[in-house]
């Protein structure tokens, strides 16, 4: 009997090359699958994370809009400025207390302020830093020395504007004030709010959304998620609201600009928030 010695036989070169080729193909396929899976998992992870940040940004924005006195949006809809009552008194101890409300008249209507006051019948002039009012000693109709250095808020007055000085004073009631910035509009019967106010600005910087509160940066979302907000504020005669969308670009995307745009559009979430403290003058 002749014993077959199969295990002692080697592959032929052709067999070996074929086996290597098949093996290489299998490994390549495996590696490709692994890479694709990794990318897919990363993209899914990124999608979820971006979506959560998207919701968080919207929640931040809605919360700030809801408690604002005034919300203004830049013409390119990429910057939103919220003027918010300063509810908390910073006493330097990291444990602020709550401010007590004070009442003022705006037209026939009573409003409540926190660390601020309201002045009625104010004249603003486009391009001028001067504010004038009747200066009556009556409530809500005059400036006072305590206004110097405080923020001033009103239609046509740039955000961040402060009172530099007051003049024409009689018994503590002043009829003129000078602002740090010129007014953008002329208004002969404006209502302004003067005092300590919180200024929150949302803006797009390098396709990341930043929130700044009185100039200080608040980290509300990661900077590399390619999130873009579009917000417009709508002022009606008897109410005011903002509508916002936030989108991001999923990492799944591969294609031309149109494809990217469609992918981004598919991630949009929308929010509509009403201002609870509408304050654009007395209507």
């Amino acid at each position: 009997m002749k014993r077959a010695r199969l295990h002692d036989q080697g592959f032929t070169l052709i067999e070996l090359m074929f086996a290597v080729a098949v093996g290489a193909l299998m490994m390549a396929a495996l590696m490709a699958a692994a890479v694709c899976l990794h990318r897919s998992f990363t993209a899914v992870d990124n999608y979820f994370a971006s979506h959560v940040q998207q919701v968080r940004i919207m929640d931040f924005l809605s919360r700030d809009v809801k408690r604002s006195y005034i919300v203004t949006t830049s013409t390119d809809l990429q910057t939103v400025t919220c003027i918010i009552p300063n509810y908390l008194v910073d006493n330097g101890s990291n444990q602020p207390t709550r401010a007590a409300p004070t009442l003022s008249l705006v037209g026939n209507k009573v409003v409540a302020n926190y660390q601020a006051s309201t002045v009625n019948n104010v004249t603003t002039t486009q391009g001028s830093t001067s504010l004038t009012c009747p200066g009556f000693g009556l409530v809500s109709s005059h400036f006072s020395n305590s206004n110097v250095g405080q923020s001033v808020l009103g239609t046509g007055i740039p955000a961040g504007t402060t009172i530099q000085s007051v003049s024409n004073c009689s018994l503590g009631s002043c009829s003129q004030a000078t602002m740090s910035n010129a007014a953008g509009t002329t208004n002969n019967s404006a209502t302004v709010t003067i005092g300590v106010l919180t200024n929150v600005v949302y803006s797009v910087v390098n396709q990341a959304i930043q929130r700044r509160e009185n100039g200080g940066l608040t980290n509300i979302a990661a900077s590399a998620d390619n999130l873009i907000p579009v917000t417009s504020d709508i002022e009606l005669l008897n109410t005011e609201f903002t509508q916002s969308t936030v989108t991001f670009l999923p990492q799944f995307a591969r294609g031309d600009q149109t494809f990217f745009a469609n992918e981004r559009a598919g991630t949009a979430i929308f929010s509509l928030t009403y201002l609870r403290n509408r304050r654009r003058g007395d209507g």
Binding site: K2, G23, P96, G137, L138
Partner: protein, 555 residues
Amino acid sequence: MKTQIHQRDNGNILVCALCTIVIVSLIGANVLVNCNRQYNITAKQVKGWKEALYAAEAGGDAGFDEVRKALNPIGLPFTTDGWAAAPSPAPTPGPAWTKTISGFGQEGNLSTTVTIDKLTDTTGTIPNTTPYYRIRAVGTARLFGLPRVGLSDQFFAGGPNFVANSASRGVGDTLLRKIDFKYDHFKASYGDGDGHNLSLSTVTSPQITRRIELVAVPKYFVFGGAMRVVNMFNGPGNAGFLDSYNSKNPTNPNPGSPQVVNNDIPGPNTTSYYGSNPSNSIYLADAHDGDVFVGAKNFAEGGPIWGDVTTNGGNVTHSGYQISGTIDNNVPFTIPPLPAPNTTGFAATGSGGPVTASGTSEGSPTGFVYSGLSGNVTIKNGNTGSSTFPYAYAKIVVNGDITGKITLEKGVTAEIWFTGNMKVKAGDLDNQNVDRGTQTANPGSLGVPPLTPPTPADDPNPSRVGHMKFFGISPTTSGVTQTIEIDPPGNIFATFYAPSADITVTGDTDIFSAIVGRSFSGNGNTGFHYDKALNQVDIGVVTDYQVVSYVEDIR
């Protein structure tokens, strides 16, 4: 020959490949599961965060509802329906009440605790005898799911406490949602919100709390606008207009004798009391508060209206009407009937003749009762000779109709209540007072001389119109409607609070007034001019409350 095959030496590559696939799949599945879990957790946290606000706002509504229930500002009970005294420290002047509502929401995961603080205004915006209310509500939502931090980037950027620099307060979800996993961070850091009663309080399950504060102020003044009618408005006259002015304004061109200025009309049908208003900002600001409120859809406009207009179901638009202010067609309201006042101690008189008022405040007027008022009545000022307080107050109750002439001497403020109807000529309501025309009065007070000798211009009541106030007592017989008819000639300087009366004005009468009634109709040249100083006229009761401020404590 038999060939032996060693099968155990084959198949390694396949096994390795399968193992690799399994391992990669497990990693992938783990990633997906983690993503899903985190997403699930975060979604629940977002839900809880939003629901906490809903709970807080529900508490705010409950508090506001309680404030509105008790329209008597003096004796708010807050003792039933779960209300109890709030823990100290109480606000100034206080007191404060609190109530907790729990067990609503999904599986009862929501609760709210609302605290109402009674406050007093010291700015003069509203009378300091009338309280207003601060409503603070805490909404709490129990979190479902695993107690994980979600996709928050990190806990604290610069410490656990609120600091002035917002960059140091934490980031991402930590800064926004502030989840209490084990301890109530607010009580531990801020106690009651003002640093009192700090405590490390364990929470029974992870939760989110949100805090809001509302300010509810009384609608104490019955004349917050030119006209408030329940059923129908048809006015002003086609050739008239409805606007406002301010009798306290020293630049008022006609403080002693208000009259319509028609000599400088800025445009067709846009004349106001101040004439060419747009050229003077103060006039303009005073001119466009002639607000009209209609509790039904029945609204018809003759001439232009310088003010806001509200209806309940109407179809009023800017394009179809001449209205300078805002329009809202979804504002329902009711006005309760006006009961007869207490006349104990009042002097009974006939149906006319002079009477002398010597009361020194609206709270202690000289009282008279008439069975009807068909003859001429003159209400004299019994304090004219006083060097310290030459003003007098009278309260007259007419148990019948008013058809005679009423003359009110300078310095007298009179309330005239009547149960029947009124039918007079405008000139028969002879109010001889003048507008004060100053922002700061110099009246002194009873027994305390003013800085300079008082004059009629120092009258504590700044409004000529506000001196003569008519109150239509609601008929007690079902189906009976009170009527007030005012005919030419003459102008009117008086207010009317008659919630059950149909009010009709005809001819070229100019009405310097404010009206609360069932309906109003004015034809022809009838013009209406609301004195903004009347927005501080009250009849001793709070008519309603309104929320004027909303803030959220984001700590």
